[in-house]
Amino acid sequence: MTSRAPRRSIRARRARSAAMVALTVVAALLATLPLVLILGLLLKQGASSLNWAFFTAMPKPVGETGGGMANALAGTLMLIAIASAIGLPVGIGAGMYLAEHRGGRLASVVRFLSDVLNGLPSIVVGIFAWQFLVRPVKHFSALAGGIALAAMMIPLVARATEEMIRLVPNSLREAALALGYPRWRTSLTVVLRTALPGIVTGALVAVARIAGETAPLLFTAFGNQFWSTSLTQPISALPLQIFSYAISPYEEWHSLAWAGALVLLALVLVISLIARYVTRSRFGHGHD
């Protein structure tokens, strides 16, 4: 009697444990399911339209077969470049300030506001950019699009930079100061350099995030059927092109939109992979 009761309870506990583990495994699979399904669908629908011409050719008028998204691809890369040129220095600088003056009043205000900005719907960022960058000059432009994307990037980069700099032990800062390093040199050559792999990862995650943004571009970069690299002219972008092709009534354009979506996903995947690699190589050298 006394020996059976505990054995049964152990069996019951094991069964409960197995059930719970199974539930979490199902949840974990469900979490990755959307990506797998999207990837599968995009490959099925888009791969057939994906050829060399897609990357090199310009869009063709309705009715003509073939054509590609060379302008949209170039436009996306250019918008990313503009956004990074503005967003990375400002974001990293802000992150350094937040980390070095963590207790200050200004720092906590900036930290709070950047969290709010981070959660702001991207369409709101787009409308804001339209009001201040498009309306006064009366035309859409690549620059306005880039700035709108930069506004989305800055809080991401700032918080990532802050977290990474905080991970640098204070003892390293002290060691540099005790060697007679001025504060600026301590921040740049010791603290920032030690945190650099993490900051690069944060920056790449931010780039991946904005690469596919559509809403901030709707009222700023606007889209362009022609080749353009001008900062002051409307410019095409992959998400915009996908949007306009997908809502068009033409079968030809639909498959191009699928291919565009596949390329966009591949771009984000590659950036994420680079980010992973950079993070890993941080721990690659030596041990302690």
């Binding site: 100061l177 005790a178 040199r185």
Partner: protein, 276 residues
Amino acid sequence: MATTEPQVLATDVAATAVAAPAANALISVRALDAFFGATRAVRDVNLDFLEGQVTAIIGPSGCGKSTLLRCLNRMHETVTTARVEGEVRLDGKDIYERSVNPIEVRRRIGMVFQRPTPFPTMSVRDNVTAGFRAAGRAAPSRAEQHAIAEWALHRAALWAEVKDRLNDSAMALSGGQQQRLCIARALATKPRVLLLDEPTASLDPLSTQKIEELVYELRGDVTVVIVTHNMQQAARVSDRTAFMLLGDLVEVAPTSRMFTSPSDERTEAYITGRFG
């Protein structure tokens, strides 16, 4: 505040009575108070550090020994709310004078901390020359850097172990090697004073022994101040020992006398293990 004033005056008078620094003092501390916010961590310390000698500062945890050490190269003030009052004369000149640049002070006084702090992004060689490179206006040549690194690593008794690994990451060294690397880095700028803040607290006995031998080797050329909670270590490496308690300097004497016949009963209680 007003109530403490007469007391401060009284100690000032006492300080002037003993103020004349010893003839061979390289650093003389006078009426030194160190604060964290409103807390006074070091109280009215008067102490000479003699040139070429090793001085140990001992005392229980929280007695202010590390704080006193950090006042000697103006590292104390790098902590927010920290503040120093009083004088620290290096070669007769007060390092807390308005015209003195703390960065210059720290370049002339080396410091090594409780845990090894090699810069993780730099190679062994670049770690050693880091302070040296920061001090000069023009970038030193590679040959010059190598010569300095070799010299400093020899001084720190590390050359034989790392001479084939100068381009490796400093993080690949063992803890004891990393600490000697930090000593080499501090020595590379040829400071006259080396401050050691419990340099062996995180090391194994063998590494500890190597550091102690090194400190013994350095005496004569460099004036060493070592903070330690380990009384045996103080007895082994130092010429003079200072005992601190609750922010006060209780007693300072030649090490042999300190450990055989201390003049203050609190010192005797501490070194015989009755508290702390």
